[in-house]
Amino acid sequence: MTSEQRQNNASTMGDPSADDPSADYDWQGLVRGMRTAFTVPGLVMAMSFLGFGALVRAIAFPLKGAVAMDILMWALPGQVVYVDTLSRGLALLLALLAVTLTAVRLMPMVVLVLARARLPGARRWPEYLAAHFIAATLWVMSEMYMEGVPRRQRVPWVIGLGLTLMSGMVLSTFAGYHLTAHMPTPLAAMLVFFTPAFFILALLDGARERADWAAIVLGALIGPIAHLSWPEIDLLLAGIIGGSLAMLFTHRGSRAQGERP
């Protein structure tokens, strides 16, 4: 590590032990993370990627494109939006705009995971690698399991967990794509249904403050209205209007809460 990098990282937050400039990651965390992949959230994730494979098949999107998305995008809502929007024949730029708007939510997740995992004195590249694996499920898993991982092992832990989940999800997409061809339609439709069911329940499960609840309800209400009026930008409209209204409501709510002794 160069002294320049060290300077860049010197003024950062985190626990005091993390400010040690000689600190570096303990890569034993990699194996530890790989083991964490085999838990209930990993299984749920596999189900929804089974559904993604089925969805991809159902809208006649090629498997190689879907697998490439698993590896390069690694964010199921964005992948579903991308596949869905492209196969509806909408313009590429609009599809990318929709994808990037769903990916905005990755930023706070990366911030939240890395703030608790990174060593300010250490090399930066593991952080950029770890960030590629951070999405909704991994964020939820880090809330559940990262507390028990020693600080120096945490970024490798995220990478090991992410790599293992990604391998599993590629297999899952593959299986979902091929299994549905030999399946009765209602069963195949159920696999596709795993995706919206997983999303809405994961949103509810991750909701902590009133803004989250309001955003879920408003997004689900405004979405269909926006879809009937402006199908090209329905998700963006629902997201921005619903999210902003939810923030306005909670701004008042949190202020009222703050006034309590």
Partner: protein
């Protein structure tokens, strides 16, 4: 009816309006479809880079991040509503009552049975299957 038949019998507009379905000539040109996926990857990863850069500086409880989080949450909720109310492909072949009923059952179970995520998803899927057979 198998899925393959379902795809063949899908409304013709699905295939006609499609830009990137299996029959698109684009998939024979790795450079082109690779570029499409890479573009999707780039617009996704850019927020992760921002996250790495901000992780050291930003206040995760700050107002801007809370707004961003609210927008993203509403957007995914809208995506769920779109998939359930205006489905494409296979899901469109399931009755509306199965799509909405199963989602509501899953959420009710999640609320009443101690917020068990995995079990609630399984319950929603089981209800979906049941409703599909009850209301073909």
């Amino acid at each position: 009816m198998t899925l393959a038949e379902g795809v063949i019998q899908a409304p013709s507009w699905v295939l006609q309006a499609s830009m990137l379905t299996t029959d698109s000539p684009l998939w024979n040109q790795p450079a082109l479809w690779g570029a499409v996926i890479l573009a999707g990857a780039a617009v996704t990863y850019i927020w992760r880079i921002l996250g790495v850069l901000l992780a050291a500086r930003i206040d995760p409880e700050g107002a801007v991040l809370r707004w961003v989080r609210a927008v993203a949450t509403a957007l995914v909720a809208a995506l769920v509503a779109r998939m359930v109310l205006f489905p494409s492909g296979l899901l469109a072949q399931a009755p509306l009552v199965a799509r909405i009923g199963a989602l509501i059952m899953g959420m009710l179970f999640w609320r009443l049975a101690g917020r068990r995520l995995a079990l609630s998803i399984a319950v929603a899927a089981a209800c979906f299957l049941l409703l599909e057979y009850l209301f073909p």
